[in-house]
């Protein structure tokens, strides 16, 4: 449990706003160490990690965890060093007023999102959310200095450290989708080649939050050409505003999705593996779009059989996304079992 928390904290600290994924390569190399054989960064900023089982002709299993996170981009530097910004992916705008941010210009610049003083809130607009392109970030610099330090196009992320709540729950930014990356890393660490039934290609894909064309995972899969794939993302945790059947229960284990796009037989097998090993999981029924890369992968190249799994997360796209470390560890245990299970491929043509 503690190792999972440590990995999640480390990953959350890497700034990977969509389009900036490649800035984390060195940090990832250090963190992943010998858990994988190789790590490369491709043209789009996908990180491709390979861990081989050592047997010639072994099938390739791809695990996709998108590594980009939502954030903002600087669109202008104004009077008194106030910055205007635009959304990258869907940052929840409700949390912006008075939020603290890091502006990644030529150096990291601290900022506060300006909130309207109460006496200036007009009666007619008081109950309307201020659109993001009218919000300003206060850097405390003069305009000239801010222009020097912050080029247009600089990414902006939230300044939050990870906080630990009760019941092994953690809250922080970027847990969508680093919570699953932490689970994968947790699974791969200490897993030896001889135990593995597949060569594993772990793709930390780019642009999931922003590309309607799923450009990142498309290019990643083209290079990997896997036999089958697991897509890991996050799902809404049940709670206020998320009543069943929506969402999954925090602490109830990872979600495993049944949907028209994903491979039904393979998915059933994954559930059977979990059940027989006492790993808790929750069934997610998704009749239409999963909203994840599992919509894209099955249709790439000549078709890639895909299983979609998720971790429960509350506060999606805020600076206080919250997950349960117990769920992360359960997912990690399940992944290990799957990576070592050579019978999965029997399900492909069922």
């Amino acid at each position: 449990m503690e190792q999972y928390k440590r990995l999640l904290r480390a990953l959350s600290g890497m700034m990977s706003v969509s389009g900036q994924e490649r800035t984390t390569t060195r940090a990832l190399q250090e963190l992943l160490g010998t858990a994988v054989d190789t790590l490369t960064c491709d043209r789009l900023g996908n990180h491709l990690c390979l861990k081989r089982c050592g047997r010639a002709g072994a099938p390739l299993l791809m695990i996709d965890t998108h590594f980009d996170q939502v954030g903002m981009v600087v669109t202008g530097v104004g009077e008194d060093g106030f910055l205007s910004v635009s959304n990258i992916g869907g940052v929840d705008p409700r949390l912006l007023p008075a939020a603290e941010v890091c502006v990644w210009g030529r150096e990291c610049v601290y900022g506060v999102v300006a909130s309207t003083p109460p006496h200036l809130q007009r009666a007619d607009s008081a109950d309307k959310l201020r659109p993001m392109d009218t919000l300003l970030i206060d850097t405390g610099y003069s305009r000239a200095r801010a222009e020097e330090l912050i080029p247009i196009g600089s990414p902006v992320s939230f300044r939050t450290a990870v906080v630990e709540l009760a019941n092994d729950r953690l809250a922080g930014q970027g847990f969508d989708n680093k919570a699953t990356a932490a689970a994968v890393l947790h699974a791969l660490s200490g897993l030896s080649a001889r135990e593995m039934a597949y060569d594993v290609a772990w793709v930390l894909s780019a642009f999931e939050e922003t590309s309607r064309l799923s450009a990142g995972v498309t290019v990643g899969a083209f290079q990997v050409r896997p036999e089958l794939a697991l897509v890991l993302d996050v799902n809404f945790a049940q709670g206020p505003g998320v009543e069943p059947p929506a969402g999954i229960k925090m602490g109830g284990g990872p979600g495993v999705t049944l949907s028209p796009m994903t491979h039904r037989a393979l998915t059933r097998r994954v559930m059977a593996v979990a059940a027989s090993s006492g790993i808790p999981y929750q069934t997610v029924a998704e009749a239409a779009s999963t909203g994840t890369h599992s919509n894209t992968l099955p249709l790439l190249l000549e078709g890639i059989p895909t299983v979609d799994m998720s971790l429960p997360l509350s506060g999606m796209h805020t600076a206080v996304e919250c997950v349960s470390a117990a769920d992360g560890v359960a997912l990690s245990k399940l992944l290990r079992l799957l990576i070592c299970d050579s019978t999965l491929t029997e399900e492909v043509y069922q």
Partner: protein
């Protein structure tokens, strides 16, 4: 040199929502004990430090409130989430997505987060609406009601979890929670320390009142003033400065970096013109930045003090602050220091002012 910044930092980090000022009071008591001639805590919890003057028949009161805005748990849901109400005026827009500290059973500090219904699941109409407080919850990670009840109770307090950060040009901007009104308290402590260090005997008796419950309108300053019975009072506060680029010049309250803001009038009081004039003249003579408030808004303890007993001549001096009553209040170091200097010099010259005072 940066002792005053360290002082402000320490004060801002303390837990002190209205009605629960104990931790702040203890810390302030320790700081001012060596600098005052007499120290008392009254029935409401106000802390008052007296400094004898050349003429003890008159008293000048200087006041700042110890309490900050915060939250109170009003209900524990079956899911383990905590419903809350705000203590003092916090705009719902600045609550969402912030971190808090809940003071639970046995005085344990519990980290929590304020969350709302996921944006993806909102309808289009919902998305365009500003957040309402009713849609927000504090999540401390409890798995259900019973689990939460082991940790907290209805009625427990919470405050924003926000550290103290210096940033911007020459790091002169300071961000923290509770700058309103720990900055006022810090100004008073700095002045007390300077009076003692320089061996200055004030012309009249001074009463430094660190008051309670200002943010909820049940002002401790009222009863403190009644007890102290001053002729004049200076209320130290924070004001929402509104000096943002999209605010037109006449709607701005003042400017950051141009010194403490003196009010001529606000929603609660019309200030004593002569006294305000004195403050301005001290600013001019001693070359200390001070500005006049441009916009009529807000209110503070001064109005309660003014109407105490037979009346008190009051003045309000406020620190220009951005994002007031949020987790990220921002003030300026130059303003903080200008206020320290101005209050000190006003004390030193007060005798001469009294001699010339007219209505």
């Amino acid at each position: 040199m940066n002792r005053d910044i360290e002082l402000l930092r320490r004060l801002c980090l303390l837990f002190g929502p209205s009605g629960c000022e104990g931790e702040v009071r203890s810390a302030i008591r320790e700081s001012i004990r060596p600098c005052v001639d007499e120290l008392e805590q009254d029935k409401l919890g106000n802390l008052i430090g007296y400094v004898d003057g050349a003429d003890n028949s008159r008293t000048l009161m200087i006041a700042a409130h110890m309490d900050e805005v915060g939250m109170m748990i009003t209900n524990i849901e079956s899911s383990g989430q905590l419903r809350f109400d705000t203590v003092g005026g916090i705009d719902a827009a600045v609550l969402c997505g912030k971190r808090v500290v809940v003071w639970g059973h046995d005085r344990t500090r519990l980290p929590g987060i304020i969350s709302a219904k996921p944006i993806h699941l909102q309808s289009k109409e919902e998305r365009e609406k500003a957040t309402t407080r009713k849609s927000l919850y504090i999540d401390i990670g409890a798995s259900d009601r019973a689990d939460a009840q082991r940790l907290v109770s209805v009625g427990d307090f919470a405050v924003f979890d926000s550290d103290f950060v210096r940033f911007g040009e020459a790091e002169r901007r300071m961000k923290g929670k509770a700058i309103d009104d720990r900055l006022g308290c810090a100004v008073m402590i700095s002045v007390l320390e300077r009076l003692r260090a320089e061996g200055t005997v004030p012309p009249v008796r001074l009463a430094f009142a660190f008051t309670v419950r200002e943010e909820v309108g049940f002002s401790g300053a009222k009863t403190a003033a009644y007890r102290i019975n001053p002729s004049h009072a200076v209320a130290l506060e924070s004001t929402a400065i509104a000096d943002l680029p999209d605010v037109s010049a006449h709607e701005r309250v003042g400017d950051m970096g141009r010194g403490g803001v003196l009010s001529l009038a606000d929603k609660g009081a019309l200030y004593c013109r002569a006294f305000v004039g004195y403050a301005l003249s001290v600013g001019r003579e001693k070359d200390i930045p001070v500005q006049l408030k441009r916009y009529v808004s807000g209110g503070n303890d001064a109005r309660h003090i003014q109407q105490s007993a037979a009346g008190v001549r009051v003045l309000a001096l406020s620190a220009p602050t951005r994002y007031l009553h949020s987790a990220s209040c921002v003030a300026d170091l130059a303003d903080y220091r200008a206020m320290q200097k101005l209050v000190y010099e006003m004390i030193v010259g007060f005798g001469r002012y009294l001699a010339k005072e007219d209505m």
